[in-house]
Symmetry: C2
Subunit: 190 residues, 2 copies
Amino acid sequence: MHREEKNEMANTKKIDYAILGLLSHEPLTGYEIKQRMNTSLQMFWGASFGSIYPTLNILEKDGFVTSEDTSINARERISYTITTLGRKHLKEWLLIPVEKDEIRYETLLKLFFGTENGAIGTLKHIVAFEQKVNEKLEVLRASVTILEQSRDTEEEHLYYLLTAEFGVHTYEAYLKWCKVAKAELRKRGK
Amino acid sequence: MHREEKNEMANTKKIDYAILGLLSHEPLTGYEIKQRMNTSLQMFWGASFGSIYPTLNILEKDGFVTSEDTSINARERISYTITTLGRKHLKEWLLIPVEKDEIRYETLLKLFFGTENGAIGTLKHIVAFEQKVNEKLEVLRASVTILEQSRDTEEEHLYYLLTAEFGVHTYEAYLKWCKVAKAELRKRGK
DNA sequence: TGGCTCATGTAATCTGTTACATGATTCT
DNA sequence: AGAATCATGTAACAGATTACATGAGCCA
């Protein structure tokens, strides 16, 4: 196993860029950032409040964002806006090659060790997986339809569209695989 | 945003089960476990030495594995074997529904924020992604060919095969998407 | 002899989640 | 009135990586 090579400049914290990226489109509150992570970025990125709020403070201290009180009456609201410096910081990161793409699929882990569980037990996990994928695919298809209408007028939407299309391609492949896997396991499961 | 509901029994550490699962097939050293993670499990799970060795010790303390000195001359080697209790522990986990499947794709993050980087810059990330996928696909296809020959005689191989086929389906979908995305961005990039 | 692979392990550190704490507003 | 949502934040903890430390065996 070759020596894990030294990471020159690598492995910067990604949440900073995820947040900066979201703010590059429009000013947002921490709460709204969390919502974006749960919807638009949901399929390939996530973060909890417990990491979003502290990161926002650090980003401000570093001069990458500015904050503004946008409270409505007594309802507290702090909107963050990206600065020129923050944009530069984001752009620099966008320029460097991708360090890591990774998936952590418990479903595949349970599948890989399927012998211990048997064909029937493993089948259940695949069926559950299939159902989740079906739900997510529906949502993605809806957003593709919407984004297609504005991809030529709003530059950002082209990139959102490509991301959503990635999801559609991927999830459709998952479903095709589910069919094959289910058939194979049903043959064994008796 | 609905209250994140309380996790009754959930969110057990997964590395324990990944290791127990590998040991359910055959006794292995910590070093060999790492190798499996870098090859067979590579596409959906990973771990470093810094988490494998300590976990192995805990697993032994808990009675889920036993260790045996299998040194060759002065070359230290400690092989771990799963116990009946360990098998039971693994089986119980395999029975419960999957908690989380997640992907963390930096490539998609950089794509999503493509406006800041421009079509040409974003294209580079896709080309790099495509190349990596091509390499991995080749390896996966080779293992599918091998596993197909033994899926009916060796039960475990059926599950390895299904996992590898998942990878093939997924990666083929990625490549199809790369084509579409590249074409779209090339149209913009001038 | 030098470099790679085999082999184990620990300490410092990083990153992030979970659970808690608090409170306003809106919807039914 | 009560539930859900909007909204911010912190402390404790979990989980894992990275870098370091150490050394044997093998191959060119």
